[in-house]
Symmetry: C2
Subunit: 112 residues, 2 copies
């Protein structure tokens, strides 16, 4: 796809793009997104599987939802979160490939 942002990149645009990258730059949030690949989940269910507190899980989910990456659906007491923009998977996969491409001692160590 064609370049849509100004070049050179203005500080304002750079900040917007950086914000989005930083939103995905947290292990817990990435794991939340990954768990939601299989479909919507409740906050409590996600918290248990991640081993995080309910409070932290809720906070991270809210950050992702505020950015438009996740959708919320309340059903009684429970709140179901799901992926709102499937393009996030393409982003993650692209970065994963980028990371794996630079195969070094660190990644090899992770496989041990």
């Amino acid at each position: 796809m064609a370049q849509v942002l100004p070049h050179p990149l203005t500080p304002e645009y750079a900040r917007s793009v950086a914000d989005r990258f930083r939103l995905l730059g947290d292990p817990t949030r990435l794991r939340l997104i990954d768990l939601l690949r299989d479909g919507e989940r409740t906050v409590g269910s996600l918290a248990v599987e991640l081993g995080c507190t309910q409070a932290n899980t809720s906070k991270q989910l809210a950050l992702l939802a505020d950015a438009g990456l996740l959708a919320r659906r309340r059903e009684g007491l429970r709140c179901y979160y799901s992926i709102a923009d499937a393009a996030v998977f393409d982003l993650c996969d692209a970065v994963c490939n980028s990371v794996l491409q630079h195969l070094d001692a660190r990644v090899i160590a992770l496989r041990a």
Copy 2:
């Protein structure tokens, strides 16, 4: 491309991927990458155009180079940096599109 990482994502892998996202989650580093679209540049030249100190520019370039995204070439006193992995442009463009897709008041304000 097929999914290569474990699912559910382990904390270790999530951290690796998050590190890469966070590396791109800084406006200054994004602007450096953007400036290098046109070819290799010296540290001083980039610092002037960004309005950053030479020290900070050097540090951010080093972070990108250590991650394998940039390449270095010394020539006398000067040091030329260039893009080592052009895939980074695809990543940035993908995020840019993702950001622009969620058109909201903030982006509109940026256009004013």
